[in-house]
Symmetry: C2
Subunit: 178 residues, 2 copies
């Protein structure tokens, strides 16, 4: 579903990819919508867990740069194709399945929250100026990331993703105390 898109993925493809049968599929999921929601929940959990690993101990600007590099590198492996696992589903599902949209909105909020928490730790340690607003900076960074994913996917080139993240990080850098 990540590669082909949610709507373009058929249950037969799911069946083949999972090496199971229709009856098993319908044993676990009432219909395709429920399956899609389960996929959304699964990917949301995976992304959050991965990001938590990177971000929960974030305490410095260099940590942010490492985080940036990891994301760029992962996306470079596929030349930007498919975009962000959450972003592509969000774009396709938000106006189509309100339950999925809610899950995705909460996941984006949690993800952004991880960044904001890291920025707040930088503030407490004195690395980041008090004048900085961690929540707004985190939302801006997340938007730059998602927009970067989208432009990279469209251009089949991760350059715009790097540029976007660098801009957001430059902006955060301007709030460093030295």
């Amino acid at each position: 579903m990540y590669v082909r898109g949610v709507n373009a993925t058929t249950l037969d493809e799911v069946r083949a990819a999972s090496g199971t049968s229709k009856s098993q599929l319908y044993q676990h999921f009432a219909d395709k919508d429920q399956l899609v929601r389960a996929v959304v929940a699964l990917r949301a959990g995976q992304v959050l867990e991965r990001e938590q690993g990177y971000l929960e101990r974030l305490r410095s600007f260099r940590g942010l740069l490492r985080w940036r590099d990891a994301l760029v590198q992962r996306n470079a492996l596929q030349n930007g194709a498919y975009g962000c696992a959450l972003g592509s589903m969000a774009s396709e599902l938000s106006d189509q399945d309100d339950e999925a949209r809610t899950t995705l909105a909460e996941t984006f909020a949690a993800w952004t929250g991880l960044i904001a928490a890291g920025l707040r730790r930088m503030q407490i340690s004195g690395a980041l100026a008090e004048a900085a607003d961690p929540d707004k900076l985190a939302v801006g960074l997340m938007a730059a990331l998602q927009g970067g994913y989208l432009l990279a996917e469209t251009q089949q080139d991760i350059a715009p993703m790097e540029t976007a993240l660098d801009m957001a990080l430059d902006h955060i850098r301007s709030f460093l105390t030295k």
Copy 2:
């Protein structure tokens, strides 16, 4: 297609919405893919024309703020739903129809180019520092815009779009000469 998504839109819906019949549809378009590409080209042209109207005479930071306000206001009318006309199609089509992807990539490039040209005029007039890189700033701003659209669509709230654009504009502001 903008509202329901490209893949979720049926030709019967197109037929009903256009007040025509199947034979007329197939008179003009060989198949659904061709219709989709025509839609992409049409919307791309419309967006570029609209943006050209806003951006071709951009010469000041206040002009950028007005541009920002116009985009936010337009998106507020639908509470962020459906996202950017180009962005939502880009996300759905980029890994599915290479011709559509190319058109969208070129359109994003042209749109970004309009912004970059405006920034360059600001540089020539001395409002923007020579150290600023108009192309990179424009890409960053476009990514913030697209990411903002996506987050706003997912949250059904334009606040993240505003935050993202404000961040990008703040960053540009830091390159103003006074």
